[in-house]
């Protein structure tokens, strides 16, 4: 479960105040709302990337409000994937495991398993600048899933893709994430994503989050 209670975030002139919602464990939650309404700020607060001025964030039963991002066990996929430009696809997938000093053999197995699941086995030695938009998003998703997170935060992961690639990644999300027990918080503008992926939909407007579905 992702639970946000009376969240306050201040960022320059922009602020979110008294924002609360609950996303039950294993559900796919989508937040929609106009550009600039604070969706990304909310997502980054859940990931621990924004300093919050008040309120609590709970992941499961654990209060993670003061935890560092890396202690929360949240996989994060930003808008354009943000693949590290100096690392090959294989090293992107191994990055978090190497940080945890995982045995090389286990890292190799995990990278192979992830790359097969995401259909990127043939790209393991490529650099990010040699990947298409859809391939980048697959790698970014794989990198986020490498730590076997219980929670996944997706910041408009399909927005920069053409229609055909959009459908491919959308199918991939259905296959690899939805229904696997991972709780997903996904922000988007796209109605199709809302219709096909969301178990729960929240609309964000004027500092309030209304449940629509």
């Amino acid at each position: 479960m992702i639970s946000v209670e009376s969240l306050h975030v201040r960022q320059g002139e922009f602020s979110l105040s008294d924002l609360s919602f609950n996303l039950p464990a294993g559900t796919y939650g989508i937040v929609v709302g106009r550009s600039g309404c604070g969706k990304t700020t909310l997502l980054e607060a859940v990931c621990g990337l924004r300093q919050i001025a008040g309120g609590r964030i709970l992941l499961g039963s654990e209060d993670v409000t003061n935890h560092k991002p890396g202690e929360r066990g949240v996989g994060y996929v930003p808008q354009d994937g943000a693949l590290f430009p100096h690392l090959t696809v294989a090293r992107q997938l191994a990055f978090a495991l190497a940080l945890r000093k995982t045995e090389p053999k286990l890292i190799k197995e995990r990278v192979e398993e992830l790359s097969e699941r995401l259909g990127i086995s043939h790209l393991l030695n490529r650099m990010p600048n040699a990947l298409s938009g859809g391939e980048r998003q697959r790698v970014a998703l794989g990198r986020a899933l490498s730590i076997r997170p219980k929670y996944l935060c997706l910041d408009e992961p399909l927005s920069a893709l053409d229609d055909q690639t959009h459908d491919e990644i959308y199918e991939l999300l259905v296959q690899t994430v939805k229904g696997t027990g991972v709780t997903v918080l996904h922000i988007t503008h796209n109605k199709r994503e809302v219709e096909h992926l969301a178990d729960i939909v929240f609309r964000m407007a004027g500092n309030e989050l209304h449940r629509e579905k």
Partner: protein
């Protein structure tokens, strides 16, 4: 001609935005004049000196010492500059904190101050403890040359590093933090590999600034032959001795050294550091 709602409209075909030629020609003349003057200056230096003057300058023990000290002091001041400029650039690029504007202004001081004033200020500083405890080994000695170069070069390097870090989006660090990095690991594993070109640019800038530094060195390190003599000091000493050819020969050596560093860094930047 009138539109459906009665307004007069201009025929699309009757409008011409005008020629771009005068603008392009203007740009080319203004830019070309400056570039031509730079090249003409170097050509004039070359025309004035003969091979004998250059060879005799290169054979002179004083000039050999001066070249050696210039190369050594510029390299050390560049390393020192990067050692300070990288954290300073990252701090000012990524963090908001009280007094940040003041810090920015303080960092501009070595850039906007006349270089001579930096030398005088360093001389004054080394009259006070704890600096005065070391002044016997620093002032008018080789460390003074390096320190004088560092004080100016570091400010330029810090600016260059800040611009470099500003150009690297924070998204990469954010992802790295969620994957388990702390700030330090995110910096070393994700940011620095992308800032290689910036480090190279800042290092080149610091090296070139150090090579050309003269005023602060003259005041803080003196101009003693075979002791604190760097290439700009040699030019000054030759000028005082009325040796125009010697002066120009040393200037040419400096031009070659600066060009070599510039070309090397460009080539390295193009070939090795592509992310």
């Amino acid at each position: 001609m009138q539109s459906a709602d009665g307004n007069v409209v201009t025929k699309p075909s009757s409008f011409r935005p005008g020629s771009d030629t005068p603008f392009i020609v203007g740009l080319s003349i203004l830019s070309g004049t400056y570039v031509a003057i730079i090249l003409a200056m170097i050509a004039a230096d070359l025309a004035y000196v003969d091979a004998d003057s250059i060879m005799s300058a290169l054979r002179s023990k004083e000039i050999q010492y001066s070249i050696g000290l210039s190369l050594l002091s510029c390299s050390l001041s560049t390393l020192l500059s990067l050692w300070v400029a990288i954290p300073l650039g990252y701090l000012t690029s990524r963090f908001e904190f009280p007094g940040k504007r003041l810090l920015d202004t303080v960092l501009d001081i070595p850039i906007v101050l006349p270089p001579l004033v930096i030398g005088i200020s360093l001389l004054a500083l080394f009259n006070f403890a704890p600096f005065s405890w070391t002044s016997e080994w620093v002032v008018f000695e080789i460390p003074a040359v390096i320190l004088a170069q560092f004080m100016v070069a570091c400010a330029f390097a810090a600016r260059a590093m800040r611009i470099s870090f500003d150009q690297i989006p924070t998204r990469y660090e954010k992802v790295a933090l969620t994957l388990g990095c702390n700030r330090s690991k995110a910096f070393w594993l994700v940011v620095m590999p992308q800032a290689k070109r910036g480090v190279l640019a800042a290092g080149t800038l610091a090296w070139a600034r150090s090579l050309g530094e003269f005023g602060p060195i003259l005041v803080f390190a003196g101009s003693t032959r075979m002791r604190t003599e760097v290439l700009p000091t040699s030019v000054y000493l030759e000028m005082q001795a009325g040796n125009l050819k010697g002066m120009l020969a040393i200037s040419l050596i400096m031009i070659v050294a600066a060009a070599a560093v510039l070309v090397t860094s460009r080539l390295m930047g193009m070939k090795r550091l592509e992310p």
